[in-house]
């Protein structure tokens, strides 16, 4: 998760800072809360805190904007194995809140309630972030897949030319 949020280089620092804060503020841990959710909440706060320190790196969050995305009606073959490399890139292009919601749901398999706890927002917001985020993600993957396909054509042409 840290690698997805902060990139491979800064991820270790993010994790270290997260655990350090968790130790420091362990008394704030409510035993009724899922421990992992609590740790992810700290991770998110550390991550946000770092953004504030270096505003130049602040990713643009578009969660306030209404993105009109189609329903899940993308082509059946668009998630072929060779396109899965694009998934990571497409994720990195998502607005931060969408990306975080998707990672928490699909990778960490948190419930909506836990995601709401981590992201400090209502459950309704989690739902809309997931819905919009996934649609946008599919569009980004599809776009980068199409771009790749169009870039490949000249190479294929050159190779096949005697």
């Amino acid at each position: 998760m840290a690698r997805q949020l902060a990139g491979a280089e800064a991820a270790d620092d993010l994790v270290q800072e997260t655990f350090l804060r968790a130790w420091k503020y362990f008394e704030t841990f409510d035993s009724a809360t899922h421990c992992r959710a609590w740790l992810f909440r700290i991770l998110r706060n550390v991550w946000i805190g770092r953004w504030r320190k270096s505003r130049l790196e602040l990713p643009v969050t578009e969660t306030g904007e209404e993105q009109i995305e189609p329903y899940y009606d993308w082509e059946d073959e668009f998630l072929r194995a060779e396109m899965s490399a694009d998934v990571e890139r497409a994720l990195s292009e998502l607005p931060a809140d969408y990306r975080l919601a998707i990672l928490l749901a699909d990778v960490e398999e948190f419930t909506y309630e836990e995601i709401a706890h981590v992201m400090e927002c209502p459950i309704g917001t989690v739902m809309s972030r997931l819905n919009r985020g996934r649609k946008m993600l599919a569009r980004l993957i599809r776009t980068s897949g199409d771009a790749k396909a169009s870039n490949l054509q000249p190479d294929e042409f050159v190779r096949r030319t005697p």
Partner: protein, 206 residues
């Protein structure tokens, strides 16, 4: 019965397992009959799996584990180490304060140090012989062992200062003969100012 519009609004909840059992029954009833919605759910699931497969769970490097462990454990231990140190100092101080024997050993040790860093010079001192332990008892509540170990003679000069008489053949009587207590004596010997001590060469009872 759900229609396509209704179910597409709750696709995410369905695939994320967030629907109530009743809603799941309704959604599945629709999916069983609607090929288009079934395919849409399938695509959504594949997207979720693609994300999970691509991102997955990164195994932290041994280096990162060591970093985290070091930063958390040391920060946790740091105050504890100081707490232990403070406790140890307090314990030693309390032991010294409350244990007469240890207290005199420490006092003798300090005196030994003072004695060795001191300049000594030949002197003749005149004063009254008093029991050091009885004085300490009177002054500081020191647990004097005089009834069992006998008195310990010291010299009080006219300025009120108490001089410790160093053990030696010539000083044996001055220190341990209780009958001399209260008597005025003149001591010839060497004076160690910082150790507040005198080494006796000879003496005379006045």
């Amino acid at each position: 019965m759900m229609d396509c519009k209704n179910i597409r609004e709750i696709f995410d909840l369905y695939v994320d397992g967030e629907l109530s059992p009743e809603a799941i029954v309704q959604a599945e009833a629709h999916l069983a009959e609607c090929d288009s919605c079934r395919r849409a759910v399938d695509r959504l699931n594949r997207l979720r799996q693609a994300v999970k497969a691509r991102v997955g769970h990164y195994q932290p490097t041994a280096q990162l584990v060591a970093r985290v462990r070091k930063s958390t454990i040391t920060s946790w231990l740091r105050p504890t180490i100081w707490t232990f140190a403070a406790a140890a100092i307090l314990l030693v101080a309390a032991t010294i304060f409350f244990t007469p024997h240890v207290r005199s050993v420490v006092a003798n040790g300090l005196e030994f140090v003072a004695f060795h860093v001191d300049d000594s010079r030949a002197t003749v001192m005149e004063g009254k012989l008093l029991c050091r332990d009885c004085l300490l008892k009177e002054e500081y509540g020191y647990h004097a062992m005089c009834p069992t170990r006998g008195h310990h003679g010291s010299l009080q000069t006219r300025d009120g200062k108490i001089w410790h008489i160093l053990d030696g053949e010539a000083s044996e009587e001055l220190i341990h003969n209780s009958k001399l207590l209260g008597r005025t004596v003149r001591i010839h010997g060497r004076c160690f100012r910082r150790a507040s001590s005198i080494e006796v060469d000879s003496y005379e009872v006045l």
